[in-house]
């Protein structure tokens, strides 16, 4: 029975959202939304186990065309790259909702917009039709805007508007890109088409690919965020409520990277190979810049936001180093970053709910009062720094070693980011948790409640599992990544560098 699991994964949150809106009583909103997202997680888990990990192509494909002449239709499919992100989304949402008990006014609308957001994100990851992809891309913006704009902090409207305009500007470019791509290939493929699989067959000229790469690339770069386009992220994170910023950091940023891999690398290989130096430079700047700026932040959420800029710099470097190890590192680091930064935001949210301030100077000596929370924060900080045995290390290790052969200079520069990560996180931990309790208000703070433990334990377990035994996840990613690299090698004269070729070759490359 080929039950349309993918469409179900999108429809369930929407149904949940509507149900939450209909139910009148506010206190029912969160439990109902959590159960709905848990059901979706069940579906995603089933999908994870039913997915054959050795396959490169799209699985569970659902296809029905709406508008034949333009080849537009409901075309869903999942492969190595998008599967883990869909499961991560389904995993993060119940946790984010469980962490949003501090939301008091208009809880129903909050829960509903979170569920619509989940539907939008899952739609983006699954849809293989460019127009439907774009619709979900835009649809996802609206609930996020409300989540930041209504339930956010003091300057929430400013942050929400900035976030919206930034992304909308990008997606306008992308829409132009999609349309021109769709009609550009019409002569080759007999009529315009927006279906990703068919577009793979088209052979675009280098010039066209460069323009389209730019259109798609800028929109995704804003989302990632790559270095110059990152200024919306700290504001959006600082003002977003806990649940919102967990999703924003955990999954929303990965849409940009997913887009870069799915569209920019696969559809425009010639342009991708040409623009590798540009993106590598921006990625390395992002790594070092994000980390250095994070060191001196006074607001803990802003610090974690800048750390996301740094970590995603790693991911972009991995993606554009175009070797199988580095690309796998990029994809797995997307999942890892989602978990570690999501957990960091949850912990920061818990502290915020106790003291209603995010200024690091307001804290000090919290470890004596809340040892469990301090321990969890330190654990997550070390995962984020990339301590081996935890998941951050796997991604960084892959990206750094993988990108050495194709981008030696950039990989070496990126390695110094590893030190900076330790600096800003440990210094923040030291200022917040160690030492004497200086501010009186900190003295009476309570340690983790049961609800908070339920949030932390599954994520921590996943962090350790992915760190110690990442093999299953990597086996899911590997075939799809190799397929992309083969396609790049076919379409362009780029050859994926061979690790361990005899010493002399490597030496020339390294010189």
């Amino acid at each position: 029975m080929d039950f349309p699991i993918l469409s179900a994964l999108i429809a369930l949150p929407v149904a949940g959202g509507l149900a939450v809106l209909l139910v009148k009583r506010d206190e029912l909103a969160l439990p109902l939304s959590i159960t709905s997202s848990l059901v979706t997680f069940g579906g995603a888990a089933w999908l994870l186990f039913a997915f054959e990990s050795g396959e490169a192509g799209f699985q569970f494909v659902e296809k029905s065309t709406w508008h034949e002449p333009w080849g537009v239709g409901w075309h869903l499919g999942v492969d190595g790259i998008s599967l883990l992100m869909v499961v991560l989304t389904a995993f993060l949402f119940p946790i984010a909702l469980l962490a949003s008990t501090a939301i008091t006014h208009r809880v129903r609308q909050y829960a509903a917009s979170m569920l619509f957001l989940q539907a939008g994100i899952t739609g983006v990851f699954l849809s293989l039709d460019l127009l439907v992809f774009f619709i979900f891309w835009e649809a996802m913006l609206v609930p996020m805007y409300f989540i930041i704009g209504i339930w956010g902090g003091e300057r929430r409207v400013h942050a929400a508007v900035k976030f919206f305009i930034f992304t909308a500007f990008g997606s306008a470019l992308m829409f132009a890109g999609i349309l021109s791509l769709g009609f550009l290939v019409s002569d080759q493929l007999g009529g315009p088409t927006f279906d990703f699989v068919e577009l793979l067959g088209a052979d675009l000229t280098r010039n066209a690919q460069l323009w389209l790469f730019g259109a798609f690339g800028i929109s995704f770069a804003i989302k990632v965020p790559v270095f110059p386009f990152h200024t919306w992220l700290p504001d959006a994170h600082v003002e977003a409520p806990t649940g919102g910023s967990v999703i924003l950091a955990g999954v929303l940023l990965k849409l940009g990277v997913y887009g870069l891999i799915r569209f920019n690398l696969t559809l425009f290989p010639k342009a991708a190979v040409d623009l590798v130096p540009v993106l590598a430079v921006l990625a390395v700047i992002g790594i070092l810049y994000g980390a250095i700026v994070a060191i001196v932040q006074t607001d803990i959420k802003r610090l974690v936001a800048y750390s996301s800029v740094s970590h995603l710099g790693f991911v972009v470097l991995g993606v554009f180093a175009l070797t199988t190890q580095s690309l796998q590192g990029g994809v797995i680091q997307m999942v890892n970053h989602g978990l570690t930064t999501g957990l960091l935001f949850l912990l920061v949210g818990m502290i915020y709910e106790r003291r209603h301030t995010r200024q690091i100077s307001e804290f000090g000596g919290l470890a004596t009062v809340m040892p469990l929370l301090a321990g969890a924060f330190l654990f997550t900080a070390f995962a984020s720094i990339g301590l081996p045995g935890l998941n951050g290390f796997v991604g960084e290790f892959f990206v750094l070693l993988g990108s050495y052969l194709s981008l030696p200079g950039y990989a070496i520069a990126a390695t110094f980011g590893v030190v900076l990560a330790a600096v800003y996180l440990l210094w923040a931990y030291q200022r917040m948790f160690t030492g004497e309790i200086t501010v009186e208000a900190n003295r009476g703070l309570s340690d983790l409640s049961v609800r908070e433990k339920i949030i932390i334990i599954p994520m921590a377990a996943l962090v350790v599992f992915l760190g110690v035994y990442p093999k299953p996840a990597l086996e899911i990613i590997e075939p799809s990544v190799d397929a992309i690299l083969e396609r790049i090698e076919e379409q362009t004269d780029y050859v994926v560098p061979e690790f361990g070729s005899t010493g002399d070759i490597a030496v020339e490359v390294a010189e």
């Binding site: 900035k162 110059p228 990152h230 200024t231 919306w232 810049y289 250095i292 700026v293 060191i295 001196v296 932040q297 199988t324 190890q325 796998q328 000596g365 470890a367 004596t368 301590l387 081996p388 045995g389 290390f393 796997v394 290790f397 892959f398 750094l400 070693l401 993988g402 050495y404 052969l405 070496i412 390695t415 110094f416 590893v418 030190v419 330790a422 600096v423 440990l426 210094w427 030291q430 948790f433 160690t434 030492g435 004497e436 110690v468 035994y469 990442p470 093999k471 990597l474 086996e475 590997e478 061979e498 690790f499 361990g500 070729s501 005899t502 010493g503 490597a506 030496v507 490359v509 390294a510």
Partner: protein, 623 residues
């Protein structure tokens, strides 16, 4: 074989998890006992497994757990050969003694269970580091050891300086690790694999050019310097004394800091292909040895003297392995583990007796009060000063001998080593004298008393080892050399001289030791001289290098980060984005006055437009 080797790691790991979860419930002595038993268990298994190595060269075995990183061909795999066996024995042996000692030392500390779980975590990570069979797993141990040193240094996190010291240690180690990762990058790009066997055989088959080998070796040196506190990354070790004394003994004397030496010894094949890099290792070692010895002379805090002494002795080991005398380096590593652990534990018992007092100028005349501590520390003092027949003499002499044997410039290094030996003897005698002899300069209300048996027993055992330890590898019967030969047979080893030259060198080094001791006795016999001249303050603060680092890297870094974060990022990029917003509003404002309100000016505009259009059409030649 597989199970038992894995058990060596699983026992302390189990101890760590058990204590981490239920440390508080198991309570005061129980947690300590569980932890100690775990490490002793590992020690016993290691002895059993090492047995077949002793009487003949048993084969090196590997135990495969699971495939960890498929794309890199990295397996979670343990390796059991003579070198790792020796290191395991040292780590678990000295470790269990220190665990036993800690039960006494940490009595009454609220974080008792947590302390022992961290200690077991350290032993586990050190064993992973030592037993790893590929560079990736070595790096895992390498970082986890850094983690446990961070946790243990800032164990009393209520004290801000301890937390800062822990952070500093981790970050400086991390700087070293950057070098290590870069080395891994090069290795993987050259060999396509990180397994020790493939890499070292590839190196032998000539897959490695000299330049690449030198690059890898130098980067590995950076990593080793970070972890073993060599110049220029040594600044974290003196601050690491903020941690409890057993921690200093275990991590910052016996085991963790020697990881760098072990790594250089393990990758001998690469250093062999890069003579320049090996020479650099030796030079760095020599320089650090002399440099740290000079600072140690002027320290007031008993633990800081020992910290700088450790840096200096590690310098010796680096000199040894740099000169391709890997067995000599490892031998000194082993003997140093014994007497330096003893010295630290002795110092801990002194501090324990003096209820927390660490300044030597407030001690004196403790010999009578703490006889066992005094006796055992005296043995360690003689061992480190290189007085035969104690352990220190044999290992240090062998290193000096090998360095002298290499001839040429190496003999300059031998000279440096000799001077350091003299200084070592001097500052150790100074420490002993200030602590145990002369008239008591205690603060009032301080009642020094001997430490309980639980603490003194390990002291005695270590004292015994300090005496016996040296005999393992004397010129007459080089058992250790035979023991380690299979590991190093691929690499051509530099050997100590024998015959008359050996005797002369031995005599010279012993003379240096005795002169050092004599000078110290003469100086401190009658009264404690006031030590605050310019020279003393300069040495006391470690040539102010630490403050220079703080100013340049921390201060400068912070300034740069401040500018980048608040000036460039907020005003620059963010300003640009917000600027676009306000720009559009301003532009709107400029266009406003065009609407004058007068109908006739609008008429004028219309006519002007018409004329313009007409002119344009005409310019294109008719309609």
């Amino acid at each position: 074989m597989d199970l038992s080797l894995s058990l060596i790691i699983f026992l302390p790991m189990g101890g760590m998890l058990l204590l981490f979860g239920f440390g508080k419930r198991i309570g005061e002595p129980g947690a300590g006992i569980v932890a100690t038993l775990a490490v002793v268990g590992s020690f016993l298994i290691a002895v059993v497994l090492a047995f077949d190595f002793i009487n003949g060269d048993g084969p090196a075995e590997t135990v495969r757990w699971f495939e960890w990183l498929p794309a890199f061909g990295v397996e979670a795999e343990l390796r059991w050969d003579q070198l790792s066996a020796l290191m395991t024995l040292v780590v678990t042996g000295v470790g269990s003694l220190i665990h036993l000692y800690s039960i006494g030392y940490m009595r009454g500390d609220p974080g008792f269970g947590r302390f022992f779980s961290y200690l077991n975590l350290f032993i586990t990570s050190m064993l992973i580091l030592v037993l790893a069979n590929n560079f990736a797993l070595l790096f895992v141990g390498w970082e986890l050891v850094g983690l446990s040193s961070y946790l243990l240094i800032s164990f009393w996190f209520e004290r801000p300086i301890a937390a800062a010291a822990g952070k500093k240690a981790f970050i400086v180690n991390r700087v070293g690790d950057v070098g290590f990762i870069l080395a891994l990058m090069l290795i993987f790009s050259v060999f396509g694999s990180l397994g020790f066997d493939t890499v070292f055989e590839g190196a032998h088959r000539g897959e490695l050019t000299v330049t690449m080998a030198t690059a890898i070796a130098l980067l590995l040196l950076v990593g080793a310097a970070g972890k073993s506190a060599q110049l220029p990354l040594y600044v974290w070790l003196p601050d690491a004394m903020e941690g409890p004394t057993p921690v200093s003994a275990l991590i910052h004397a016996a085991t963790m800091v020697t990881a760098g030496v072990y790594m250089v010894a393990r990758t001998g094949a690469i250093f062999e292909l890069a003579p320049i890099a090996a020479a650099t290792v030796a030079v760095v070692g020599g320089a650090t040895a002399l440099f740290a010895a000079t600072i140690a002379i002027a320290q007031r805090d008993i633990k800081r003297v020992l910290a700088y002494s450790t840096i200096s002795q590690l310098g010796y080991m680096f000199m040894g392995v740099g000169a391709a005398a890997y067995t000599a380096g490892v031998f000194h590593l082993m003997t140093h583990a014994f007497f330096k652990a003893l010295l630290f534990l002795g110092a801990g018992s002194v501090i324990h007796g003096m209820s927390g007092e660490q300044d030597m100028h407030k001690m004196g005349g403790l010999a009578r009060k703490m006889p066992v501590t005094f006796a055992t520390m005296a043995i360690a003092w003689l061992a480190i000063s290189g007085i035969p027949p104690f352990a220190g003499f044999w290992s240090k002499d062998e290193i000096l001998g090998v360095v002298f044997e290499r001839g040429g410039l190496w003999q300059v290094l031998w000279g440096v080593g000799l001077v350091t030996a003299l200084l070592t003897a001097f500052y150790m005698t100074r420490m002993m004298w200030l602590t145990f002899f002369g008239e008591p300069r205690w603060d009032d209300g301080v009642e020094p008393h001997e430490s309980p048996r639980l603490m003194t027993v390990p002291l005695v055992v270590l004292a015994g080892l300090s005496v016996v330890g040296g005999l393992v590898n004397t010129p007459f019967k080089a058992t250790l050399e035979h023991f380690l030969d299979p590991v190093f047979e691929a690499v051509h080893l530099a050997h100590a001289p024998d015959g008359s030259l050996a005797w002369i060198l031995a005599a010279v080094s012993v003379a240096a030791g005795i002169i050092g001791i004599g000078a110290a006795i003469l100086r401190y016999r009658s009264r404690v001289p006031v030590e605050d001249g310019l020279g003393w303050r300069l040495l006391g603060n470690g040539y102010y290098i630490d403050d220079v680092y703080a100013g340049v890297f921390a201060g400068g870094g912070k300034l740069g980060a401040d500018w980048l974060a608040f000036r460039f990022d907020v005003r620059g990029i963010d300003g640009a984005v917000e600027g676009i917003g306000s720009l559009t509003r301003k532009a709107g404002g400029w266009l406003r006055p065009l609407q004058t309100g007068f109908v006739r000016s609008y008429g004028l505009a219309i006519i002007a437009g018409a004329v313009g259009l007409l002119a344009w059409f005409l310019s294109r030649g008719g309609i």
